[in-house]
């Protein structure tokens, strides 16, 4: 079970290679946080994660797929991650 994020935070879940890269399954980040700022923030914490993991991963907020705006790209309507939200970073898995 994932612990509830503290007040003023959201939970970020790291699956597969995102988990190996960060050595974490979950962590709390301050929220509200515009979705377009998420990758930049994670890159600051985990140098190289953007090219190595995030750019080809899919992202969900509260179990629903979201399109992450590219660098410098303004989304038509900005999605903002809210306090208490659960964000998942899901890289493709290929093996079988």
């Amino acid at each position: 079970m994932t612990p509830k994020p503290p007040k003023g935070h959201c939970n970020i879940l790291y699956f597969a290679s995102a988990g190996s890269y960060t050595s974490k399954n979950v962590e709390a980040l301050p929220a509200p946080l515009p979705l377009s700022k998420l990758f930049g923030l994670l890159e600051e914490r985990y140098h190289g994660i953007r090219a190595g993991v995030l750019d080809h991963s899919l992202v969900t907020i509260n179990l629903t797929y979201v399109d992450v705006p590219g660098a410098g790209e303004e989304g038509a309507e900005e999605i903002v991650i809210q306090e208490g939200d659960e964000v998942a970073i899901i890289p493709p898995v290929s093996s079988g």
């Binding site: 960060t22 750019d55 080809h56 899919l58 969900t60 899901i90 898995v93 290929s94 093996s95 079988g96």
Partner: protein
């Protein structure tokens, strides 16, 4: 048939049973079929119609490994009439902890033949078709076109993109699963199938709609390298079979307007994580709501230029698409040493005091290491490096030991020689080389090279 029963005299025994499942098209279930499939036919929603659809279906399993074996067992058991299996590999001992369709006695046999042997033992009624070779750009369409539904049980990104693209172009539903180490994914794609380019409405996604770009080649770990827990991949393969049976039994694979309307159902990505370290909450399933077909999708979107003839002629080039290099690490020759040269220099006492960092995961390290090596798993190393860089601490804090001589050289070794190069670059970035006075050196080819060049008995995994 139930509504007619009152008007007809009741038969008894096997004849009655056969009558019960009389098909409108003239097909009856044989007594053998009736007995064999009775327990699933009485499940609400399945019935005689569902069973006959399964028997009349042709299903292709691509990959006879950790996913294909458990999936194949339930596909064969359920009585899918024609089952094709593609794989070019042979059975190896290290497959058997998870690839339950093979056997110790069949080590060395082609996987397709081994799995078919096993499936025939479970159910001799279906027709089994072996395709004992790799699926490639040149043969994929010819193989896939012979089937109604495809199960992707393969183990590499290039093949996953190829299979998805062909399924889009041939209007075949694709049940795709994947699994590595402690997690698995499952998604039903292109179902019910909709023609390429149709985007004005709600249509199902393809693999590219979900994963637009492949991961960098170096970051993609295989089961051979990262390991895999048998039950994790088994769970995904079984779930994959469940989805395939559902699609075929309810005729969702037939591209009709009716079935397209039924796809107002949400495409779902199932994620399974199995946490070996945590005693509480040892497993978790998450069902993620996915988007539909993407308007600008390279394969199924409105301006897609993807064609079967193009793929056959080698465009797009799947291998190239999936082998984007991770980093352009180019260490000069003086910062690298072969495993053999390092060993000899040590034996001759030429490098007395030095630090030897082994960046493999601790599980790999636990099976054996070079004498004096200190384990700093690469993921942890990168994280510490990022923190030091951000907070501006002393670069040497990243080192596992502090030798008296601050210029004592550092050697880095990993599993196969890629991570160690990156680690050397990072150490220099952090100033650990003391402005060039201290040597930071990569041991080329990692512990794999150590086994090949120095110690053939080394337990390399």
């Amino acid at each position: 048939m139930g509504e007619n029963m009152g008007n007809q005299p009741r038969h008894s025994g096997a004849t009655a049973a056969a009558d019960l499942v009389h098909d409108g098209c003239g097909r009856r279930l044989s007594d053998g079929e009736f007995d064999r499939y009775s327990r699933q036919m009485i499940v609400p929603g399945m019935g005689k119609e569902g069973q006959l659809r399964l028997i009349n279906s042709r299903l292709l399993i691509i990959g006879a490994g950790g996913l294909g074996c458990p999936a194949g067992q339930y596909i064969a058991g359920a009585g899918v009439g024609t089952i094709g299996i593609v794989d070019s590999d042979v059975v190896e001992t290290s497959n058997l902890h998870r690839q339950v369709g093979h056997a110790t006695a069949r080590i060395g046999m082609k996987k397709v033949d081994s799995l078919i042997t096993h499936l025939r033992g479970l159910n001799p009624l279906p027709t089994y078709i072996p395709h004992p070779f790799h699926i490639t750009s040149s043969n994929a369409a010819d193989i896939i076109s012979q089937y109604d539904l495809v199960m992707d049980c393969t183990d590499n990104p290039a093949t996953r993109y190829l299979i998805s693209d062909i399924c889009v172009l041939l209007c075949k539903p694709l049940v795709s699963a994947a699994s590595v180490q402690k997690s698995g994914q499952l998604i039903v794609l292109n179902c019910p199938p909709a023609p390429q380019g149709l985007v004005d409405g709600k249509y199902p996604p393809c693999y590219r709609c979900c994963f637009r770009k492949p991961p960098p080649a170096g970051s993609m770990i295989s089961c051979g390298e990262a390991g895999i827990m048998g039950p994790v991949v088994g769970m995904m393969g079984v779930a994959q079979a469940g989805e395939a049976i559902k699609i075929l039994a309810s005729a969702l694979h037939v591209p009709s307007q009716d079935s397209l309307e039924r796809n107002l159902l949400q495409p779902t990505l199932l994620i399974y994580t199995y946490d070996l370290e945590s005693a509480v909450g040892p497993y978790s399933f998450r069902a993620l709501k996915m988007g539909g077909r993407k308007k600008n999708c390279f394969a199924c979107g409105e301006n897609s230029t993807l064609t079967l003839s193009g793929i056959k002629a080698g465009s797009p080039n799947y291998e190239q698409f999936c082998s984007v290099p991770t980093s352009s690490c180019k260490l000069p020759p003086e910062e690298r040493i072969t495993a053999a040269a390092y060993h000899e220099a040590r034996e001759r006492g030429e490098i007395p005091e030095h630090i030897l960092i082994d960046t493999r995961e601790k599980e790999h390290f636990s099976f054996g290491s070079i004498e004096g090596a200190v384990n700093v798993p690469f993921g942890k190393f990168l994280m510490r490096a990022a923190v030091l860089k951000r907070d501006g601490g002393s670069g040497s804090d990243i080192l596992p030991t502090k030798p008296a001589n601050v210029d004592a050289p550092i050697f880095v070794v990993c599993r196969r020689g890629l991570d160690s190069q990156e680690a050397v670059e990072k150490l220099k970035e952090l100033g650990v080389d003391n402005g060039g006075r201290r040597k930071v050196i990569d041991i080329m080819g990692g512990m794999k090279a150590w086994k090949e060049e120095v110690d053939p008995t080394f337990p390399f995994i």
